[in-house]
């Protein structure tokens, strides 16, 4: 074993590589963050039936399209993991770039959606519903951006056949981001 590589990269004292375990811990903390925001939102929606009038202005089709995009990017992420398992770094990198493309499409749609809503006067301060909307979707969007950047770094290494175990780790994170959106979609776009 090369001493130049960090021990955490391949160490597996708990039965799981330390890097992957760290991602699971990250996801655990994210559950509390997103759970807190979504839980608060659900309680407010149930206590304030008048918010339905505001919620009626979100674009269901944009939300549905972005759900399709994220589900497809999750498929690309798991196919990257599948390729990494078979030690095919180039194929894994290719699927990671496809996942990043999904992230970019998602962000473009979101930017268009937000621009339109802000243009119509639905800003983060116009109503508590919109405060929740921009906060929840904003935090989620930030995770999409961070995930895309990390995946780009890993894809460059994966193409060289280096540190392929990271492909699965970043995939776990990406699937979690997908799951958060799976719940955001009905809460923000369907419940009207």
């Amino acid at each position: 074993m090369s001493m130049a590589r960090p021990i955490a990269t391949t160490r597996s004292a708990t039965g799981i590589s330390t890097g992957k375990l760290a991602v699971w811990w990250l996801i655990a903390s994210e559950i509390v963050i997103f759970g807190g925001v979504l839980g608060s939102y659900v309680m407010h929606r149930l206590g304030h039936p008048e918010w339905a009038d505001q919620a009626a202005n979100t674009n269901t089709w944009a939300g549905a399209f972005n759900t399709l995009v994220l589900l497809t990017s999750s498929l690309a992420a798991v196919l990257a993991h599948n390729a990494a398992e078979m030690k095919d770094g180039k194929k894994a990198a290719k699927f990671l770039w496809l996942t990043i493309l999904g992230a970019l499409v998602f962000l473009v749609v979101k930017s268009w959606e937000w621009s339109t809503e802000i243009h119509h006067g639905f800003t983060i301060t116009s109503h508590t519903f919109w405060s929740f909307y921009y906060t929840a979707a904003g935090i989620h969007g930030l995770h999409v951006i961070i995930g895309a950047i990390i995946m780009a770094v890993i894809a460059v290494d994966a193409a060289k056949g280096k540190d392929l175990q990271r492909v699965e780790a970043v995939g776990l994170y990406w699937h979690f981001v997908d799951i958060v959106w799976i719940f955001l979609f009905p809460l923000l776009y369907i419940a009207k």
């Binding site: 074993m1 021990i7 391949t10 160490r11 597996s12 004292a13 039965g15 799981i16 590589s17 890097g19 992957k20 699971w24 811990w25 996801i27 655990a28 903390s29 559950i31 509390v32 759970g35 807190g36 839980g39 659900v42 309680m43 206590g47 304030h48 039936p49 008048e50 918010w51 339905a52 009038d53 505001q54 009626a56 202005n57 549905a64 589900l71 999750s74 498929l75 992420a77 798991v78 196919l79 599948n82 398992e85 078979m86 030690k87 119509h120 006067g121 639905f122 116009s126 109503h127 175990q165 699965e168 995939g171 699937h175 979690f176 799951i179 799976i182 009905p186 369907i190 419940a191 009207k192």
Partner: protein, 143 residues
């Protein structure tokens, strides 16, 4: 470092033997897309129970499929699942503790006048519309 603490990351707990699971993942993706379509069409019918099942029930099914088939949590070390459940339990404790104050606007010895007034004002200005009816822009204009 000993071999006991250094292991290649199999991802499935089946180190050494790796098969191509591409077709399986694509099949799961297909099911997820069908569920997505159902979650959009269901609420259009305008029936509250159907909306609840198709929009929110299906979200849980979709999340389960992603967790099981894409994240492989069911074949991961068991303590990872317990870790996730612990975090969900924290979330539920938070909701259970706060819900009475947020969802109710009055109790035996207290009343939240501001929240009650906001609900009454909102419902008076914009009575609940029927499902499927296009939203107007009056809410914004009022602000």
């Amino acid at each position: 470092m000993s071999d006991a603490t250094t292991a290649p990351d199999s991802g499935h707990g089946d180190s050494g033997h790796h098969e191509d699971h591409s077709k399986h993942y694509i099949k799961i993706w297909g099911i997820l897309l069908v569920l997505l379509v159902a979650s959009i069409i269901g609420p259009e019918l305008g029936h509250p129970t159907v909306t609840l099942i198709t929009a929110f029930g299906i979200a849980f099914v979709k999340a389960y499929l992603v967790i099981k088939h894409f994240m492989h949590l069911t074949v991961e070390k068991r303590y990872i699942g317990f870790l996730m459940l612990t975090m969900l339990a924290f979330m539920l404790v938070f909701v259970a503790g706060v819900a009475p104050d947020v969802m109710k606007h009055e109790g035996q010895r207290w009343t939240n006048d501001a929240a009650k007034a906001a609900v009454e004002k909102g419902l008076k200005a914009h009575p609940p519309h029927h499902a499927g009816e296009p939203a107007d822009q009056k809410a914004h204009e009022q602000h």
